[in-house]
């Protein structure tokens, strides 16, 4: 019988993992630095998803604390990149 646990393990997490891989390909390819930056941002977002699912699977809600931090401050990196990509051109 397919339980929710096995569903998470064999469907959801693989999908998320594959997504992360795909995004990484974009990060690898670029071509522009901004492409890499958004790829990075997306990887972190996917990371939040993975952590969420993982915390469900491991029955460890403390892991969600990590996700909070990711959600709150990940965009700082993106903003920093944006800020200085512009500054570089100036």
């Amino acid at each position: 019988m397919i339980t929710l646990e096995t569903y998470f393990d064999f469907v959801i997490l693989p999908i998320l993992s594959i997504s992360a891989m795909l995004v990484f390909i974009r990060l690898y390819k670029g071509p522009a630095i901004v492409d890499r930056v958004i790829a990075l941002d997306l990887i972190i977002t996917i990371g939040i998803g993975i952590i969420t699912v993982y915390s469900i699977r491991a029955d460890q809600q403390v892991m969600l604390d990590v996700a909070i931090i990711l959600a709150l401050i990940a965009f700082l990196g993106t903003i920093a990149f944006a800020y200085y990509i512009e500054k570089q051109k100036k």
Binding site: L27, A80, I85
Partner: protein, 769 residues
């Protein structure tokens, strides 16, 4: 005795604050120090003559076996008398010689230091104490040779002298320690009993080898002799005192002192005979070519030192008697000749014997002194030198049958040279016509010519009445050297025998040589063509070669390129670790004990590896930074998977901040330029992968090694009960291991201060250092 040794040291250090005072008429106090010391030692003569030895022991570093142990026996006393006696003459002479010199005080400071050191050497009853004073003589000699410090050749000579004697000193130290180790004591009087132990020890050759290097360098034996002529750059009193009468004899003293301890073997004798023999003839020949008075004296000194070494090598009682007398003979006439040279130099401003002549007319008392000394050096009957020479021939003639002729011939030839050299130095400047340039020369202060005259008269007196010195007390010197009772009977007249014939022949041949030999600068230049083969040149080439090699080596290793340093460090680490790993055998992996593999881990690791590849190959800085962030975030996820939420949080926040920082700084920088060739890249890649592989293998091995979890269990059990926290990692950070955390915040603070100052602080050019 301790006080006599320290007297000079203390006065010398007093001269640092009171130097100005002593430049005034108070300088008259200076010679009284050696005078008092001399009298002190003279008072000991009777008891020593009776065979008593004086011992004084003061603890200094007892746990090391280094103590201020002093012992006065015949050998020490002879040297102590020489040091203080000749010292007295030199102090009187020097006070006038250097009158008004701006560094008068420094000069006497060094001289006093030297006197102390020298007394220490000869009195020490502990080989390490002896060494301590030995080195001090080198140092004071260094300062005295370089006394005219604005003259480059003085400085160079001082450096050469110190290098040679210093290097010898370190060998000597090694030798002494080795001997002390084997014998189990550093006390000389105890070492006498260890003769057997030391001489049969397999390391015996090493001991005496090291000892010889020390003695030969100090006593200017071939091939280390060349520093001594250079040392003549020192003011003349110094040459007279250190470089003829006393310091250079320290090596002889050492050999003599160690004769009863280490001597008596073929190795010992033959080495000394070969080195001494070669040195004496080599230097005697060289002396004949000099035109500088000091040069002649320097080479004849070397030759005389060779003679002494040679005699100690012969090692028979006769030879030892000869040596113990010759030490005194030589000191007296050589010091005199040097002082005379000093006066000549002082008055005529030249020391070139091809220019000097007829000075007897203007400097009669000086001439008398010089004449007496020259005759003593020539071994004219009735002088002390005659007795010395007699004893030498006595020694060579009565050595081993097979060698007699050769050894005697060698001695004769050397003496012929020395006779000629002595005449060149003592008679030549005074003979002949007085050039007009020198006609208005006046006799200097008596304090300048009385000391040499006194010494010269002593040379005559001891010759006339050899018994007063020789039989009375000098045979105790010989006893001390030989370690047994010697049979010494010095007489003016031994009767008409082979020795006398040889003496006369020597004198005759020497006089003839003096008459025939006309040293000139052209001859000297001819000789200079062979300079390339001289030990000095060889040493110089060696030194230059060493310097070139040092330059090459230093440049090669420390070439200024950080990456090259890293490469060497990493390669060294790899070699070391790979070797160890290879020794440790194959690895077995217990797959069952591993945690199960999951999809997401593989993907995260794949991404991490991809990011690593981007960093390694990136052409753009920002792409590298983005990839570094990716690595950080992947690590963060790994930490989440493997139950480390605190780590994940910290890694993530810090990574984000680092990214911000990087971006803040990097946006100005241009893209990477690839400077490096493909081969280098390949090499580095191999090195890097090798390092990674080694680390992986090590980690793998350690991973399967069982360990105890006592401490982490303790933390788990007590985190809440005792430390009142449930997040054990945090409890560790703020309680169990709070010391780490406190100082970690200090690290952070320092970094912030550093950043602040690095950016803000702009020094004015005047403040830059």
């Amino acid at each position: 005795m301790l006080f006599t040794v320290l007297a000079g040291l203390i006065t010398s250090s007093l001269l640092i604050p009171f130097g100005k005072l002593i430049k005034t008429k108070w300088s008259i106090l200076l010679p009284f120090i050696p005078v008092v010391l001399f009298l002190f030692y003279v008072m000991h003569v009777p008891s020593i003559a009776e065979g008593t030895n004086f011992v004084q022991r003061v603890n200094w570093v007892p746990s090391l076996g280094v103590n201020l142990d002093f012992r006065l026996d015949g050998l020490s006393l002879l040297f102590a008398l020489l040091i203080t006696g000749v010292g007295t003459a030199i102090f009187f002479y020097g006070r006038t010689y250097l009158k008004g010199h701006i560094y008068f005080d420094r000069f006497f400071g060094y001289l006093l230091l030297f006197m102390s050191a020298m007394l220490g050497v000869v009195l020490a009853d502990n080989i390490l104490t002896l060494f301590i004073f030995w080195e001090l003589t080198s140092i004071s000699s260094f300062f005295l040779i370089g006394f005219n410090n604005d003259d480059k050749s003085s400085r160079d000579s001082a450096l050469t002298a110190l290098s040679i004697t210093g290097l010898g000193g370190f060998f000597l130290l090694a030798g002494l320690i080795l001997a002390g180790n084997i014998a189990g004591t550093f006390v000389i009087s105890e070492l006498f009993m260890k003769h057997e132990v030391l001489t049969i020890h397999p390391l015996y050759p090493l001991i005496i080898g090291l000892l010889f290097i020390g003695a030969f360098t100090k006593s200017a034996q071939f091939p280390f002799h060349f520093w001594l002529p250079g040392a003549m750059k020192a003011p003349t009193p110094v040459s007279a005192y250190l470089h003829s009468a006393t310091m250079v004899k320290a090596g002889i003293y050492l050999l003599a002192r160690f004769t009863p301890i280490l001597g008596g073997t073929d190795l010992w004798s033959i080495s000394l005979m070969v080195v001494g023999g070669f040195t004496m003839i080599f230097a005697a020949v060289h002396a004949l070519f000099r035109i500088d008075l000091k040069g002649i004296l320097a080479y004849s000194t070397i030759s005389a030192l060779g003679v002494l070494t040679f005699l100690l090598g012969l090692g028979t009682p006769a030879a030892i008697i000869a040596a113990s007398v010759f030490i005194l003979v030589h000191a007296l006439y050589k010091a005199t000749l040097f002082m005379v040279t000093g006066i000549i130099d002082h008055e005529t401003h030249t020391r070139d014997i091809s220019v000097l002549s007829g000075l007897r007319k203007v400097l009669p008392p000086v001439f008398v002194a010089a004449l007496l000394a020259a005759l003593s050096s020539a071994g004219l009957p009735l002088t002390f030198g005659f007795i010395g020479k007699d004893l030498i021939y006595e020694a060579t003639l009565h050595f081993n049958e097979n060698w007699t002729i050769w050894l005697t011939l060698l001695a004769v030839l050397t003496n012929v040279g020395l006779v000629a050299a002595g005449f060149m130095a003592g008679i030549k400047p005074f003979a002949g016509k007085l050039p007009s340039a020198f006609s208005n020369i006046h006799l200097p202060y008596p304090s300048l010519w009385i000391p040499p005259l006194v010494l010269a008269i002593f040379g005559l007196a001891f010759g006339l009445v050899p018994g007063i010195i020789g039989n009375y007390f000098n045979h105790q010197t010989a006893n001390a050297i030989a370690g047994i009772e010697t049979d010494m009977h010095l007489k003016i007249w031994h009767g008409f025998n082979l020795v006398l014939i040889l003496s006369m022949a020597t004198l005759l041949a020497g006089t003839l040589l003096y008459v025939v030999n006309k040293p000139s600068s052209s001859k000297l230049q001819m000789l200079a063509r062979f300079d390339g083969l001289s030990p000095q040149a060889i040493f110089r080439r060696l030194a230059r070669g060493l310097k070139d090699f040092a330059l090459f080596f230093t440049r090669r290793f420390h070439n200024g390129y950080l990456r090259a340093y890293h490469l060497k460090i990493i390669l060294f680490a790899e070699l070391l670790l790979a070797y160890k790993l290879w020794l440790s055998g194959p690895i077995s992996i217990d797959f069952d004990s591993l945690t199960p593999l999951s999809w997401y881990e593989v993907v995260i690791v794949a991404i991490l590896i991809g990011a690593l590849y981007i960093i390694v190959s990136a052409k753009s800085r920002l792409a590298s930074v983005v990839s570094t962030s990716v690595i950080g975030y992947c690590m963060c996820l790994m930490f989440v998977f493997y139950s480390a939420p605190d780590l994940a949080m910290t890694q993530f926040t810090i990574d984000t901040l680092t990214t911000v920082l990087f971006v803040l700084v990097l946006y100005k920088l241009p893209g990477f330029i690839n400077f490096t060739s493909k081969t280098v890249l390949m090499r580095d890649a191999l090195v890097a992968l090798g390092f990674g592989a080694i680390l992986s293998l090590i980690a793998l091995r350690v991973l399967f090694e069982p360990n105890t979890t006592e401490i982490s269990n303790f933390y788990g059990e007590n985190a809440y009960l005792l430390a009142k926290g449930k997040n054990v990692v945090n409890v560790i950070l703020v309680d169990f291991r709070v010391a780490d955390t406190l100082f970690e915040t200090v690290v952070l603070s320092i970094a912030a201060l550093g950043v602040y100052s690095l950016i803000r602080l702009r020094l004015k050019s005047s403040e830059k250092e």
